[in-house]
Every structure is written in C-alpha cells, then in structure tokens.
Chain length 331, copies 2
DNA sequence: TTAGCCTAGGTAAACGTTTACCTAATGGGT
DNA sequence: ACCCATTAGGTAAACGTTTACCTAGGCTAA
C-alpha cells in the first residue's frame, strides 16, 4: 500500500540496501548522483520509513513511555506536556499512559509499553510501589519521579521533590501567620509521598513548639473530590483556621467545601496548596501554594533518560527538587 | 533478550507456528497436551508477544492515535481520558499527541502515527483545517471531532457539537436574564468552530430584537490566558454586563480579569462558559456553562472508529451532540 | 607488475511474528 | 483393501527495514 524502501530502490535502479544507507546518512560510499536520485524519489513518492520494521531490527523505537496516575490532575497534565516537549526536542516521541493509581493497570501499561518496544519509561508517582519483579524483568531504562523505587540497574534517574521541606514550608508559612490549628490533607496514607509530607508538617509544628492534633489529618487521594469530602469531614469533626493541602487539586476541593459552609478564604480559613499548577494563580482567589517547577522536572526526567539511553554508563542522576512558597491570596 | 515465541517452541518441542496458533486461539487442530504445555511455558517464562513484530506482519497494531490541540485545556484532557478508557475497553490502546494548534506539528504527528502503524486516528478540533492531501495519502481511518474536514473515504465518523445551538443557548440564557450588552469571547476567528458559534450568538440577538455590537467580540484562542487578555481589552474598550465565553478555560480567565478590575461575578458581570469541564462546578463561584457531555463524545468517537475498523463498510456515523445550559452561580 | 586500497554498491541474513499450505498418521465406512 | 476425512503439527515465506560482509573495477605506490 504505502511506499516502501523497495519501491524507491526499484525506481532508482539500485538495491534496497543502498536506499537505506542514503536514508540513514551512512552514504559515504554512495555516489552523488544516486544519492540525489534517491532523495528526489523520496519526496516524489512521499516515502516515510515504516517505524515498525525499523524498530524490529534496530531494537530501538525512539519512543518513551510516560505513566502517570491521574491525567485529570493538572499537575500530571503539565508534567506530561513537559515530557512530551522535551522528548520531541531530542527526536523522541512519547506515549502517555494513565494508571488511575491502580497497580494492575500500571503493570499492564508497563507490559504494553515493553511489548511496543519503547526505549525508556518515565514512571510518575502513584500511591503504590511498583512491581519490582516486573520492572526487573522488563529491563527498560526507567526514570522514577517522586516514587519509592528499588535500586534497579535499569534505573536511569530519580527525580524527586523534597516533600519534607515542601510540607514543612507549607505548615511554617501558616504557623508564622499565627495559625495554631492547621488541617493537613494529602494522598494515600500508605504512600511514602504522603508519609514524608506528614513528617515535614509535624516538624514545622515541633519546631514551633506546637502539638499536632491527629483529628486534623485526612489522607486519601490527591484529587479535588477527596479535597472536598475530606474538608467536609474535617469541618464536621473539629475546628481549624487553616489548611495545608498537599496538592492544588485538593486545595480547590477544600475551598469549595469551605465556601459550602459559608466560610470565606482566607478570612475564615486560610488554604495553601502544593504543585503550583497553572490554574492556581487563575482561581478567583489566586491560590497560595508550594512551587515545584513542574516543567523543569519533566525536562530533567527526559533529559536524564535520553542521556542514559545514549550512554548507559552515564552516571545516574538523582535530583532533589527544592520547593518554595508562593504566597497569593488564600493565606 | 526477552522471551520469544521460538524459546517457547524449543522448550515445548514444537514449532513456532504451533505456538503462534495456540497463542492466537487458532488451535482447533492442536492437541490438548501441547496446548497446556505451551500455556504453562508462557506463564513460566513470562512471555509477552512482541507487538512490533506482530504489527509488522498483521498490519494492525490495535493502537489508536488521538490528536488534540491543547492538552492543558481540561476539555481535551477529559476527552483524551475518555477515549483512552473507551479504547481500552475494546482492547485497543491510545497514543496521545498534542498539536498546540500548530498545523505543522499536527502534520508531523499524523505522519508519526502513520509510520507507527496506528489502526485509526481521532482528530480533535484545532483551529485550522487539516492537510487534506496528507490525510488522503495516509489512508488511515479517521474520526473527526468538531472539525471541518473534507469527505475522505477513510473518514469513519464525524462527532460534532451543535455549536450554533450551544452559542445560541448561551446568549439566550443571558438575554433572558435581562442582559443587553453581552461580550463574546471565542477561539481563532478564522476557524469554523468559532464562526458557527458566532452565528448562534448573533441569532439569539436577532430573535430577541437586539443589535450585536462588534466592539463586544474578541476571538483568538480557547485557553485561559486569552480569556484574561481578551477581557482586559474588552473592559478597556467598552462596557457590558455579561460575557459569553466559548470555553470554560476562557471563562476562568475572564473571571480573573473581571475581579482584577474590582468587578464581582455575577453581580457586576455574569459569565457563562462552554464545555462543562470537571473543574467548572468546583470553582469558588461554580461556573454556569454549556454542557456537552465530553466523555460521551469520546466514547462515541472511539466506538465509531473501532466499528469502522472491524467493518469498513459499516455506515459512517455522523453525530451531532446537542448541548444544554447548566446554570450555576455565575449567571 | 602487483599488492593494496578506494569507490560504489550489492547480497543475504536477521529482527519476531503470522499464515497459507503441506505432510503423516490414524480411523471409519464401504 | 481402498478412499477420504480428520487430527496434529510442520515448513517456509512474508512483513519492511538494517547491516555485516562481499564484489568488482579502477587507481596508486613500490
């Protein structure tokens, strides 16, 4: 159906090998005339190499898989976009997979990507630790983002955010503003990225000589829906004057719940988010939050991955992104 | 490296063809023992078929490409998610491509998808009309969403939204509420999906016996940033008591600009959006908007595409989604 | 002259599957 | 005893590339 290398070869009166060499610029021993003839046929017949056949023989697809737990969370949307851009700039494409924080789906995406011959994978935090055996078996270069992950030899890099500091800054920001009872809302309580943030939250209290009331803690998921229900639960259970939300989506949900009860932000209750997603400054009450330079981490991840692909002996990169506070109008 | 069908064949003491038959359940002439032996080896060796090799020979990948103009627009995020889910339910996977409303990027994604052997493509509205020659050449089954598109024979379906009615409803809603000067903000003025909406907007005025002031029209893009700057421009230029925003992202940007100037919504200026993205009800002022059942259209698109793949003589589906008004708190 | 080296390009195997067609043995019916 | 069908599985080509190695002619330098 579509034009193949053989069609070009036939019409140029040369062998397929010659065409392949020209196409791949391994043409140091191909005559000028032949080269030109081939290129002009390529244009004329709109030849595009069949990447499938190419991948099959070269064992490389120049495609990178990106797995995220929740594409609807704007944090991951932005991350995915940054990865895609970064990859494209380096001649790679990406395939996006959405795991819904479901380890089974994640595993099935992993095998899907493997069987489709991706050269590498960016695995972004879901709540659970991935199946180490599977990763081991797949042997696909991997960069892990904000994940606990075993030290595999196909691990090209880890890009982590200093969640302890992030949560510490978040809580300290509110404590400095005079708040004494601060709610803490975060993702899956069993996931390390929640535990670590909780540690930072508690340290801020300790250093300020304040107690932490377990009644003020609600952990479950990072999406807006949980932000909404968690805040309702908290409001029913106890009282507080500020909320540390460990994602901006949570903060958005929280804000709605507060307003539902007639509380205004920040007058009745301050709210700080985490991630600094692009919507955060655009909310009617621009959201104070913790900046974590999303695009930069995407670029870093892809960069580290491709460097590793180019040269697997390349020293592993272990990056710890340092978050900062952005004060807007909700605190 | 990874286990292949030959490894299984060798260890089972049969030929590769036999293994292939069993794997593909074309095993009516394979003995029970052999079948069992093969399946147990498959488990034991963690065999996963190499999709690349498989695609090469079968000329089918069970992958669908999805091209959207702006993944950061929550409308498309939701659409993409719905497509992915729908595809997965029918045994397909998706590859997401983000075109940034750039026809060149779009074309390059199209050839990328073609060369990677996707079985079909869902092409969602960008502002511009796609390169018909390219589509013609590629001959990949296509479903077009909210796009003007030539009548190719590889066009499996069109899923369009009745934008005229949508915009009409949007404006009528505001007119009925007593507004007389209503601003209109939409995407690329040259794109049909803006022109059509503008027609609906104007019809609502005509039917109400109201004039349309061209000073109240600002068209450029569907993202929040344009919503922000367009609203600033409008506020500098003229006065109005309500805004018809042709996407919720625009409405969010508009709301911020209004607030910036000390105007409150809906008291000083009503705002209605379009799309009913999942964030819309979650904004501090839940956004009135035009519902267009995003997930449903994603499911429809994928369904139509796969039906076409299963049977290319399947009658083309041309769906026109009817939008409805959702009143919340901004009008 | 001849070994050796360019230059220009061809040959064929390989990547991991699928599939049309072949074979060989067995069994049943007449 | 012969024919035909059925069962169980094998053979080999094909998909569209890439690449290691080959060839053949011509040139150069000793």
């Amino acid at each position: 159906m579509a034009t193949t290398i053989k069609d070009i070869a036939r019409q140029a009166g040369v062998s397929a090998a010659t065409v392949s060499k020209v196409l791949n610029r391994k043409d140091h021993s191909i005559g000028e005339k032949t080269r030109e003839k081939i290129w002009s046929l390529v244009k004329e017949l709109n030849y595009t190499p069949n990447s499938i056949a190419r991948s099959l023989i070269t064992r490389s697809s120049r495609v990178i898989g990106v797995i995220v737990p929740d594409i609807l969370n704007a944090y991951f949307t932005e991350l995915v976009r940054a990865c895609d851009q970064a990859a494209r700039e380096r001649g790679y494409s990406t395939i996006l997979c959405n795991s819904d924080s479901d380890p089974e789906k994640e595993a099935s995406h992993l095998t899907f990507l493997a069987s489709h011959g991706v050269d590498g994978i960016v695995l972004a935090a879901s709540d659970l630790i991935p199946d180490a055996h599977l990763l081991e078996r797949l042997r696909i270069p991997l960069v892990s983002m904000d994940r606990e992950i075993p030290d595999l030899d196909c691990l090209a890099a880890r890009i982590d955010t200093d969640y302890e500091t992030g949560a510490f800054l978040s809580a300290s920001h509110l404590i400095r503003a005079g708040h004494r009872r601060i709610a803490f809302v975060s993702g899956n309580p069993l996931a390390s990225n929640t535990k670590i943030r909780r540690a930072g939250f508690e340290r801020a209290h300790r250093e300020a000589g304040l107690p932490v009331d377990p009644d003020l803690i609600e952990c479950g998921a990072f999406n807006h829906r949980f932000g909404l229900v968690a805040t309702r639960t908290l409001l029913d259970r106890t009282s507080f004057s500020a909320m540390c939300c460990m994602s901006d989506m949570l903060a958005m949900g929280a804000t709605v719940a507060l307003r539902e009860r007639g509380l205004s932000v920040p007058e009745d209750c301050a709210v700080i988010g985490f991630d600094n997603i692009y919507i955060a400054p655009l909310l009617v009450r621009p959201l104070s939050t913790i900046e974590r330079r999303i695009s930069e981490s995407g670029y870093l991840a892809i960069g580290a991955l491709i460097d590793f692909l180019d040269d697997p002996t390349h020293p592993r990169r272990m990056v710890l992104m340092e978050p900062t506070v952005i004060q807007r109008e909700t605190t």
